[in-house]
């Protein structure tokens, strides 16, 4: 079905204060200095797949268009290659701003249900909390099960290759002091609860 959407943004779409809030986070302060030159969009190897280019995400974030950026595909397509951050003439750490936006989208649960990228981030953090380490093939299996079990079948050739080359290990890697690590991560949550 054809979806008809308004493409022009109105002042009423803004969530006042959102831009300020993002710019108060460590690493995101320089956003204020963006000159909208588009260097980030030019060097980004993924901008051709994005619904908003990185330059547009910078403008939308600074302009309080919270819903637009948190619902964008852009933030999830950022592969953290830091090309934009290195090239930006105003030293804006665009990659770190993308991370901040991803965190907010996850906290607010704003992303398509079986969209694999945020699911991967969640499964990854759960495994680290539980075991202290990542067992890559287990993580990949969990990801496929949670998103698209049939896609795993399409990768049978890779599975055979990994088996043949001795890399298909599913035994959980674990650290010894798992309770220590969990306590450390909880300590950060406790601070948030205290409003620190």
């Amino acid at each position: 079905m054809m979806e008809i959407e308004r493409t022009i943004k109105y002042d009423a779409d803004r969530v006042k204060g959102f831009g300020r809030e993002v710019m108060s986070v460590p690493g995101c302060e320089q956003l204020e200095d963006c000159i909208q030159c588009g260097t980030c969009s030019g060097v980004c190897p993924l901008s051709i797949y994005m619904n908003y280019t990185p330059r547009q995400v910078m403008a939308l974030t600074r302009g309080d268009f919270k819903n637009e950026v948190l619902r964008s595909v852009t933030i999830w397509l950022c592969a953290s290659c830091y090309a934009c951050a290195v090239e930006c003439p105003r030293a804006i750490r665009i990659t770190d701003i993308m991370y901040e936006l991803k965190q907010r989208a996850i906290q607010e649960g704003i992303y398509p249900k079986r969209f694999p990228i945020p699911v991967l981030a969640r499964k990854f953090s759960e495994m680290v909390r539980k075991n202290g380490r990542i067992t890559e093939m287990l993580l990949v299996m969990k990801l496929f099960l949670a998103t698209n079990p049939w896609a795993a079948m399409g990768n049978w050739r890779m599975g055979l290759d990994l088996l043949r080359t001795g890399r298909l290990s599913l035994a959980s890697e674990k650290i010894e002091h798992r309770e220590d690590l969990a306590r450390m991560l909880d300590a950060v949550d406790a601070e948030k609860g205290a409003g620190a």
Partner: protein, 297 residues
Amino acid sequence: MKYAYFPGCSLKGLGRAYEESLLPVLKHLGVELEELADWNCCGATAYMAVDERKACVLAARNLALAEQSGYGQLLAPCAACYLVLNKAKHYVQDYPAMKATIDRALATGGLRYSGDLPVRHPLDVLLNDVGLEAIRQKVRRPLQGLKVAPYYGCQVVRPYATFDDQYNPTTMDRLLEALGATVVRYPLKTKCCGGSLTGTVPEAGIRMVYILHHEARKRGADCIATVCPLCQFNLDAYHAQVTAQYGPVVAPTVYFTQLMGLAFGLPDRELGLNRAAIPFKWRPAQAAAPQAAAATA
């Protein structure tokens, strides 16, 4: 030369050929490593998307353990680990509030991190601590006639590395030339491989891998040399998908440490050469001929 060693999850998993080749090569050069006891996952790029402060705590626990070990320096061969550990270090140095959060979290486990410990990459150690001359002297079987595309990927040089140029890194180029290989000009040397997008958004990820292979082939490379377990995995393990969509462009992808091992004359079985889906079959000539100047392409 002694360093605490942080392998990271990949070097124990999909990227084990990197560790398998790194350890004997460094040993051969007289570099001593001690694996960090009870190290945990660095958090990589995935954890940063969930919670930045917790991601820094994860990294900082390793840095604290490394300081406690007394080695004074930490070697992190994986590109993602190298970046994340350095990132946490920068955050601790630049943001007092972040440092306070990390300090309090580490204290619950009886640990402390000062924020000073240098986190080094093997390329940095090889060029600046060991030196190209010492490496050249260990070459028994020069990689004469082998054309290599030097592929650094993104996270080794961006944004925190100080040992090489962010736009046009050359440490691996110089290292490979010292081994006798011919380094082809490879303008995509720091272009992103797609990271986990090969699995999550194949339409984009597989194409990025294809572009890297296509360019290497166009430049006449026999193989691509990598410094990152995820780059190696993407360029190697997705060969069937790349070939099905774009035709036969895939070249073998090897760790730079595997090429070092071959040039030093270490046996294949010590170098994890059996781990790649696309096997690297080229071998240097047996004779220990005096090394000639690297041929130009």
